[in-house]
Amino acid sequence: MTPFSLSACGGLRVTVADAPLVLRASGALWLEAERALIVADLHFEKGSSYAARFGQMLPPYDTRETLNRLEAEVTALSPARLVFLGDSFHDHQAEARLAAEDAARLAALARGRTLIWAVGNHDEDGPRDLPGDVVDELLIAGLRLRHEPAPGPQPGEVAGHLHPAARVSSGRASVRRRCFVTDGSRLILPAFGAYTGGLNILDKAFGGMFDSTPMAGALGSKRVHAVGWKSLRPD
């Protein structure tokens, strides 16, 4: 089993491919030595994509909700590098739909630090007007960071894309939360965006990815809970 311990701020300290990491209760990944903060699947403007495509008027506040969470993490940690691990925008027109105020806040996040946009399947080209470097993947502390996890065991890979969620039950009740998944060799991040759903990690999409039995880091309200594979339930 992957060793873990609780950090002072409610995060979970784990080691993935020899790199020490903190899994944060917000769903972000923190590399303390590199001062790098990594978030996956922000899906900005997912709400307005429903209005544009189907005329469904979902509350258009998901972008600022996601920004609120992101700014809170940035304020708490002052990262030197901020990495968006793909699917930062929900679709290709999403950047154009940003409210001016939200776009300004997003641009401000790049001030005084390096902002890196790893591209995903929802945003293959990266942003058009917003500042930051656009990359397919990148290496930090010996870890390979990319949006979509490659098939088969991938030692040292950190990815998003799958929106992992864990269901845990006890007696008559059960709870479902977004979660990190790791076997100590690779790591999948939960989706960070306000309107992003979760896929149960017992789903076949997670099959064949791990050499040894992984554990989940389920997001609680103030801390991350380590959950063993045996405690997981399907939806």
Partner: protein, 820 residues
Amino acid sequence: MIEKGRQGRNVLLIAPTGGGKTLAGFLPSLIELAQRPPRNTPAGVHTLYISPLKALAVDIERNLATPIREMGLKIVAESRTGDTGEARKARQRLRPPDILLTTPEQLALFCAWEGAREYFADLSCVIIDEAHAMWPSKRGDLLALGLARLQLFAPRLRRVGLSATVDDPDLVRRWLGCGDPPPGDGGQSSAASKHTPPSGPAGHLPLQGEDRSSNVDLVLGVGGARPIVEVLVSGGKVPWAGHTAEHAMAEVYQLILEARTALVFVNTRFQAEFAFQELWKLNDAGLAIALHHGSLSAEQRRKVEAAMGRGEIRAVVCTSTLDMGIDWGDVDLVIQLAAPKGASRMVQRIGRANHRLDEPSRAVLVPASRFEMLECRAAADAILGGYLDGEPARTGALDVLAQHIMGCACSEPFALTDLYDEVRSAGPYADLSWEDFETVVDFVSTGGYALKAYDKFRRIVPGPDGLWRARNPQTIQRHRMNVGTIVTAATINVRIGGGRKPVGGRKVGEAEEGFFEQMKPGDTFIFAGQVWRFNSLVGTDAFVSPAPHDDPMLPSWGGSKFPLSTYLASRVRQMMHDEREWAALPADVQEWLGYQKRRSIIPDDNEMLLETFPRGKRFHLVCYPFDGRIAHTTLAMLLTRRLDRLGVGPLGFVANDYAVNIWSLKPMDGLDLDALFDEDMLGDDLEAWLEESFLMKRAFKACALIAGLIERRYPGEEKSGRQVTFSTDLIYDVLRRHQPDHLMLRCARSDAAAGLLDVARLGDMLARIKGRIRHAALDHVSPFAVPIMLEIGRERAPGDAAGEMILAEAEDELIAEAMA
């Protein structure tokens, strides 16, 4: 009825079942249709019949066919429901039947159709069956709006409501009536005084609510013979607590054996499954005993109904699914297992026996516990005395209005002021303010957000002529797929099949989403009258295999889903206090009341008893408001918040129809009870608690579905093949933080307060007991407290904190595993 028809009057006919009510409703139409002169152009629909049940519409179609054929009339009467084939529906549009029998949802679809105006131009009569069951609901709101629309298309349309006996017919008349006022009597609604819209044409101003019922004449049917109602006391004993009436099954079976056909009503599906199981264990005579409840597949239910119709069945164990519907002449006995919770519902159920006016219906009530004994006695007295439970007056829901406005835009362009007047001519919306109307229109158009993000994606747009219309055909199409106000919990199909091979299994029925959440593969449970083993859950299918020889491991039945009615509750309080009434009760219940009097207190009927006592390592506070489970649960939630603030540290609570029990590690004798129960708990405490509550999330989801904010299914979402759940809880949380005054949150709050929390009733209760709390500080548990003490541990702990606890527990397990 014929005379009223000739005069073109709106009528509400109130009559008990068996009085030929439905035929009376149709008679004027049949006469008119038989006497109509031949005409060259094809006629439109003459009479529209609306029933709350699809099956009832189809049944009436059959029942009308006979007199039409026998009298040789050239009248076409056809049903149209969600189950009607597309070919028949298309034909009905081209060649309308003279009489169209349908449901409120189909009417809403008609209203959203481009050809609606022409289709209904000849409509002369609309008949609404089971009006008592529809008016006090969102379905009733939608129907009232649909009626207002029909009246616009056919101004001479008359409305006929058919209803079972109700406490206050004026409420139903007000709902049924239209706001078309007599000349000179139209007054502007006072609520619109600030932003008075440009006035519509004179004579379109709706009436004030008070006057509205006057345009509906009331016709009272002849009452039938008084029913015979008995309360069954099994072997002279009533159990302390419980919900299943298990102790009395042998006598219930005996009653079935002696009757021709019996309906055995219970209050929940679990109780139905349990009673069905128990009765079959006793069924040495091999009687045909069937089961009928909402979780069984539609096909299975129809089979039971058909067998009933043929007289092949001796008894059906059923829930409210059989509260209304098709008449079965053979039923001669109604048994109610566990207390009926309301006198009106019981009268309805008794009405299902003997649909003949001259013979009395016979009913037996079987109490499952001691408090239920009092309640059954009160219900029996109320039924014999003709006292019914009152319904509160209703204001139309704004989420329903949003759906209707979208429907109107799909049908034809509208002017805002005309639509406003039309909407206010519907009873539930008579007092709708112009501001609220505008808010709803803005919501339909752009979502109604303070952040104006969606102006270029509007669903309805005003044209250069000032008229509003739907944006495009896709918008219209999507609206039609989401019509209706019935929001059901997501369901899981229960199929026969092994764990690994999830294919081709026969469907046994449907269960609510949460049902299998608590189960592990291998667990056994009762469903559809049999014992099953749970194998696996794949997507929305649960695979099970028969396990007839196993004992079911999950007997998880709770109490009634209906809360005790206000009327019955007050009768129970009275009966408890007045010792002269005890004589009518069985010996052990009398003894129990006697013990309570000696060891604690029996309060006056206007007082509330509150007991405090230690038990084990805990201290209990038990109070007895008798105001129903829902209001009690709300009270318990709010009391625990307060006790927490006072530093008492409450550990848990349980609430039932009669009492609330809260326990803690510290004694609660010295509390200022009047302050604890002060009415101000309904202010900030309620607000703060509600916002976090799962009840609020549930209410929000229902409102958002009805109003079209979210859809039952998003196109594209299922294409990925994976089930990425994008739950409405996420939307709720975001909206709550960024626009707490949004229309959908307003709707959800008022629904939660009214239905899920029963805040109004709690408010009445707090006012009633102010300064009238009788405190008994005891050194041990009292006789009254025993039933609710026995319920501890059966409740599921709701809320976020519980979720965190589950996660923490799972972590402990992991740590234990790591240390091993």
